[in-house]
Symmetry: C2
Subunit: 265 residues, 2 copies
DNA sequence: ACAAAAGTGTTGAGAGTACACCCATGC
DNA sequence: GCATGGGTGTACTCTCAACACTTTTGT
C-alpha cells in the first residue's frame, strides 16, 4: 500500500465551498503536428513560469469545469493556433502521480493535424535558438498558468529539445500513433490543405514516415483508395509543368469504413 | 462559452485543507474480456447504489490519491477477479461533463484480457436473469461506492444488457479495439492460457471476430508469426486424438516489434 | 533546346483465401 | 471399426515493391 489510504468524499453540489469535487487536476495537452520544410513538426511552447521555467513544453491547459475533453482540446488548439476544424484525436491519458512536481495532474493528451501551409501559426524557426515571439493573440495560451514571456515554435517532431514534464513521452507516443495510422487510415489527409497535388501529398507522407516513397506506387495506392477527386485546377510549382489539384471526397468514405480502412474509431 | 469561466486555483501544498487540488473526480473503468462457451464475454457488475441502482455497469472505481492510472486499473482488476499479470491496456478517456448525474467524473477506461478458463471469476450466467452473487472477496469491488448488494456476471460482449452511465459506449469501443488489434498484433494470446492447442486459440479468435475461420489458414498464419513454440505436452479433448500444446514464446517477440506487428504501443 | 517536375505500366514476390482429405486416439 | 477432432497442401488472387522513361511547361 502506498501512503494515502484516503477515499475521496463525494458531494452532490457542484459550485460551492470545499470540500467538493476533490479529484486530481486534469490537463489537456496537445501535440499539434504540421509538415513544414519537408519535415514533420510539432508546436511547442516555452514555459514562462515554474516549474520547468524556460523549458519547452506541449501546448495545453487545464480542463475547465463543465467542459468536455474534446471541447477543451479544441479550445486549446484554437487559442494556440487560431485554427478550428482540423483533425483532432485523443491520444492517451498519462497519470503518473509524479509527472508534475506541483502535485497530482493527469494529462489527457490529444494530437491534431494542421494542413501544410496553414497560416495562423508561428513561423518555422530552428528551435534550438528560437527567437520568435507569440504570433497569435485571442485568449492567449493557458499553459504557463500565471506566466508571461512565452514563445511558440515549430520543432522537428523527430528531434525535439528537452521537454518539460513527461511531454517527451507524449510526443513520442503521438509520433508513433500518427505513423501507425498513416498506413491504415486516412488521417494523412489531415496534414494537407483542402486542395493539393499528389506530389504535395507524397511529401507529407514522406515527412511523417521519415523515408522516401516511390512516386508511382504512392500515386497508385492513394488513388486506389477512391477518396480523391481530381479538380479542374492545377498548380504550377516553379517553372515547370503544372500539377493537377485533387481534393478529398468525403462522399466515398463510407465504403472504407466498412473495410475498416478508415480510423478505427 | 459555457457557463463556468472559472479557472482553477493552484496551490503548491498537497495534503492540507481546501482549496487544494480541485479537479474532476476520476474513475477507472475496466472492460474485462474473456472467452467462455465459445463467445466473447465481458464482466459486469450490478450496481447496488444510486445512481443507476440495479443497473449493470463496468467494474471500476475511483482513482486514489497518489495512485497511477495503470496501478488503479490493476487494483480494480485484482479486486474484481483476483487475477494479476494479465494483459491490460488503456483504452480511452471519456469526459462528457454530463456522463455521471452526480457531477463531473472522468472515466479513464481500460480493457483487460483474461485467459479462457481462468478461475477466480464469477460463473457464466445468462445475464438477463443473473442470480449469482459475488464469487470473490479480497477487497470487494469499489464501484458501487457505498452500495452493498452487488452481483457480478459475464455478459455476452456483443449483446450486453442496458448499462449505466456511458458504459455501453465504452464497451463498444473496447470491442472494436480488441477486434482491430487481433489481426495486427499479438493481443489475442492474452485470451488464452499459457499452454493451449491451436484449436483452442482458433476458437478464441472466432469468438472475438464473430465468424468462423478456416483451420488450415489459421494455423499457417499463426505459426508463421514465429512466436509459438510447441511443447512436449498434449491435451486430449474428449475421446479423440490428442492435440499438441503450444506456448507463447516471448523470445521471438522482438522481431515482430520491428515489423510493427506487435502492439503499436 | 533545355531544365524541372508531372505523369505513366509492368513484372515478380509474398500474403490471403478457398478448398478436401488422411491421421491418431478412445471406446 | 467407427466416431471425433487433429492435422496437412495446393492453386488462385490480390497487394506491395522495385524499377525508367515520356510529357508538359517556362525560360
Amino acid at each position: 500500500m502506498t501512503g494515502s489510504r484516503m477515499r475521496y468524499t463525494w458531494r452532490m453540489d457542484s459550485g460551492t465551498a470545499c470540500p467538493k469535487a476533490t479529484g486530481p487536476r486534469v490537463a489537456v495537452d496537445i501535440v499539434i503536428f504540421m509538415v513544414r520544410e519537408g519535415r514533420l513538426k510539432a508546436l511547442l511552447i516555452k514555459r514562462g513560469a515554474p516549474p520547468f521555467q524556460g523549458r519547452w513544453a506541449l501546448p495545453g491547459g487545464f480542463l475547465k469545469e463543465d467542459e468536455g475533453l474534446d471541447e477543451a482540446a479544441r479550445r486549446e488548439l484554437r487559442e494556440e493556433t487560431g485554427v478550428a476544424d482540423v483533425y483532432l484525436e485523443q491520444l492517451y491519458t498519462f497519470g503518473n502521480p509524479r509527472r508534475d512536481p506541483r502535485g497530482r495532474v493527469l494529462s489527457v493528451s490529444y494530437f491534431a493535424l494542421l494542413p501544410a501551409g496553414s497560416a495562423a501559426a508561428p513561423p518555422a524557426v530552428p528551435l534550438r535558438r528560437a527567437e520568435n515571439s507569440r504570433a497569435f493573440g485571442d485568449g492567449g495560451p493557458l499553459l504557463a498558468a500565471g506566466g508571461d514571456a512565452e514563445e511558440a515554435a515549430w520543432s522537428d517532431a523527430y528531434d525535439p529539445p528537452q521537454l518539460a514534464f513527461d511531454h517527451a513521452a507524449i510526443l513520442d507516443y503521438a509520433r508513433q500513433r500518427l505513423r501507425w495510422k498513416l498506413d491504415w487510415t486516412t488521417v494523412g489527409f489531415g496534414l494537407v490543405p483542402s486542395r493539393f497535388t499528389l506530389t504535395e501529398l507524397q511529401r507529407v507522407f514522406e515527412a511523417v514516415l521519415g523515408k522516401r516513397l516511390d512516386k508511382r506506387n504512392f500515386r497508385r495506392k492513394v488513388l486506389a483508395l477512391g477518396v480523391l477527386r481530381p479538380t479542374k485546377g492545377s498548380r504550377t510549382e516553379g517553372l515547370t509543368r503544372p500539377a493537377r489539384l485533387f481534393e478529398f471526397s468525403a462522399a466515398k468514405f463510407e465504403r472504407l469504413r466498412e473495410r475498416g480502412v478508415l480510423f478505427p474509431f
